[in-house]
């Protein structure tokens, strides 16, 4: 259950909430690091989040959510 505590108007925070497109998240292993990604083009994946429990990857600037990886 979410309680949003913000100064930002709630109707702006939740704007387009109902009409967003289907998420196409995939679960992959990249260099042995499990993560959830979203394909954004041919051989291009945007990192959504890491599932891996190795802490050093969380400080790696190339693996921050939103960065693009490719194989």
């Amino acid at each position: 259950m979410d309680v949003i505590y913000t100064t930002y108007p709630l109707d702006l925070v939740l704007e387009n909430k109902g009409q967003e497109e289907e998420f196409n998240f995939q679960y992959i292993s990249y260099n042995g690091i499990e993560m959830q990604v979203e394909p954004v083009g041919w051989n291009k994946f945007k990192i959504i989040r890491l599932y891996c429990t190795d802490l050093k990857h969380y400080l790696d600037s190339n693996l921050q959510p939103g960065s693009i990886i490719s194989f």
Binding site: V3, I4, Y5, T6, L55
Partner: protein
């Protein structure tokens, strides 16, 4: 050269300035070869690495081999909770921030953490989870509110060992509103009241403000238009005891270095 275009008709063919040959100028010839000692101008080669950096990060120089003993964590936009917010929101994701704090705790090269806040608030549970994790860190932490640390940003700001606020930065303290904010389950007044108590309790435990004063700020009438609560600017936050000191980035870093030194002299950071 001036001519009447109507009179000359298709003058371009004959009188175009480009067609008039320039006679060679008598006298001094332009020097073609650079004189010894004068700088030679080389054609700049595009640096693909630099171009990439500008494209991706909007800045030119990224220190590549610079090792800092301080980790800087930024809390920006909305603190995102269990629900993925629509993409127009700039969000801080707790599922990444929390393991990062654990990594900071565990990484022997990191001796302290700076938390930079510019947030408008967000999910109560996620915000409190971040705040609790920062509070639980054994390494020295300093927070600085730049721009804004509103709503759920307040507990995150006070969770550090020492907190700063920029002179122009603001913090909005207001109650968790009773309408429209709970998504999913119809909440009871009692539930929201308890949610609010958690925020009040965390803030009063981790700062110098008393519970009575914090609630006073929270329920003040006439400060915000169409709402209750208070906007606290820079030195007022220090006056109320919410934040330790007014200052900028250099003061915050200086304080963090000082805390690291103190910690080291007391037995070190493991």
């Amino acid at each position: 050269m001036y001519y009447n275009s109507e009179f000359f008709g298709d003058k371009e063919k004959f009188f175009s300035v480009d067609n008039i040959p320039i006679p060679p100028q008598p006298g001094k010839q332009p020097t073609i070869h650079p004189q010894p000692g004068s700088p030679v101008r080389r054609k700049a080669k595009p640096n693909p690495k630099k171009v990439e950096t500008i494209k991706e990060l909007g800045e030119v120089n990224v220190p590549a081999n610079f090792q800092s003993n301080i980790h800087c964590m930024t809390i920006v936009g909305q603190v995102e909770g269990h629900m993925v917010l629509p993409p127009q929101n700039k969000t801080t994701k707790y599922e990444h921030i929390i393991p990062q704090i654990v990594a900071v705790e565990q990484n022997p090269n990191i001796e302290g953490m700076l938390v930079v806040l510019n947030t408008v608030g967000g999910d109560v549970e996620a915000g409190l989870a971040i705040a609790e994790t920062i509070r639980g860190l054994s390494k020295p932490t300093v927070s600085i509110v730049m721009g804004g640390g509103h709503s759920i940003g307040t507990p995150i700001a006070v969770s550090a060992d020492y907190s700063f606020i920029a002179p122009t930065a603001t913090m909005t303290i207001h109650p968790i509103r009773l309408t429209g904010l709970v998504i999913g389950v119809p909440a009871t007044m009692d539930y929201l009241e308890r949610m609010q108590d958690r925020v009040v309790q965390f803030v009063t435990e981790n700062s110098n403000i008393s519970e009575e004063n914090f609630r006073k700020l929270m329920f003040k009438i006439g400060e915000l238009s169409q709402d209750i609560g208070t906007v606290v600017v820079g030195k007022d936050a220090v006056k109320y005891g919410l934040i330790n000191e007014v200052g900028g980035m250099s003061q915050a870093l200086q304080k963090l270095k000082q805390l690291i030194e103190e910690k080291k002299s007391q037995g070190g950071i493991h």
